[in-house]
Amino acid sequence: MNQDIIAGVPLTWYVWLSAILFAIGVTGVLYRRNAIVIFMCVELMLNAVNLLLVAFSRFHNDPGGQVFVFFIMAVAAAEVAVGLAILMMVFRNTKSTDIGFLNRLKF
């Protein structure tokens, strides 16, 4: 079955898929101003990378890639918890999730 996958779906396809998803995520971050959606696009980018890692791990027969995916998931979960808490605080103060509001962090 594994040989099937390799025969049927070349690694390049996964690379392309990941690249497309990643690029869409980047576009989303640039395109939107809603901080939450931007956050979601970041998650999308992380997932694109995850997919690529799993694909490489499978094709290179190396479990390291899948372990990395674990760590990325852990980091993403922690990041979401803290990030959403920060967004909630920002929303409480500004009543908005527009990142244009956040340029006050500059010097």
């Binding site: 079955m1 594994n2 996958i5 049927g8 779906v9 690694l11 390049t12 396809w13 690379v15 690249a19 497309i20 998803l21 990643f22 690029a23 869409i24 995520g25 980047v26 576009t27 989303g28 640039l30 395109y31 939107r32 101003r33 809603n34 939450i36 959606v37 956050f39 979601m40 696009c41 999308l44 997932n47 995850n50 799993v54 490489f56 791990s57 094709f59 290179h60 027969n61 190396d62 479990p63 390291g64 899948q66 372990v67 995916v69 674990f70 760590f71 998931m73 852990a74 980091v75 993403a76 979960a77 922690a78 979401v80 918890a81 803290v82 959403l84 808490a85 909630m88 605080m89 908005s96």
Partner: protein, 166 residues
């Protein structure tokens, strides 16, 4: 060849979902589209025979992270009227640069196929046993460090979310 068709289907679903995430104006729709994308990525994991990872992916991303997102969006009760919109120029730039990045990425990674590919794929690569062995033997320290990361993330989230006592 069924795997190929599955791959096409899941990829189409993932890309459509991702595009919806970016271009729908309602954040709730964005979140729902992202969930669809995540599910199709989980499907890809299944295709790649990483069932354990697929299950964890669903539990973590769909079960926890996206629920949190939806929860926050619903709690903020964001309306379409308040949805901030960029200028057309900025949007155009964003799309262009996104496409450029995609092209460049594909070009940069065009040699991926040629990288050393093992022919003898071990069956148990994606199983819990195998991953557990690797995770707890070779990556024990990062594992513990990520535990600390979680703890600090939890503390941080609780502290941030707490209303200041007046």
């Amino acid at each position: 060849m069924i795997t190929q068709y599955l791959f096409y289907f899941l990829s189409a679903l993932a890309i459509t979902g991702a595009i919806f995430v970016v271009f729908t104006r309602n954040p709730v729709y964005s979140a729902l589209a992202l969930i669809v994308t995540f599910f199709s990525i989980a499907g890809h994991y299944f295709l790649l025979n990483s069932t354990f990872l697929a299950a964890v992916h669903i539990i973590v991303y769909s079960g926890a992270i996206m629920v949190l997102f939806l929860y926050v969006i619903m709690m903020m009760n964001l309306n379409l009227d308040e949805e901030p919109v960029k200028t057309n120029f900025a949007k155009f730039g964003a799309v262009i640069s996104g496409c450029l990045l995609m092209l460049v990425l594909i070009v940069a990674l065009r040699d991926a196929e040629k990288m050393s590919i093992q022919n003898n794929i071990s069956e148990g690569l994606g199983t819990v046993n195998y991953l557990g062995q690797v995770l707890y033997k070779n990556y024990l320290l990062p594992f513990e460090v990520s535990a600390i990361l979680f703890l600090s993330g939890m503390v941080g989230a609780v502290l941030l979310g707490k209303r200041e006592i007046q």
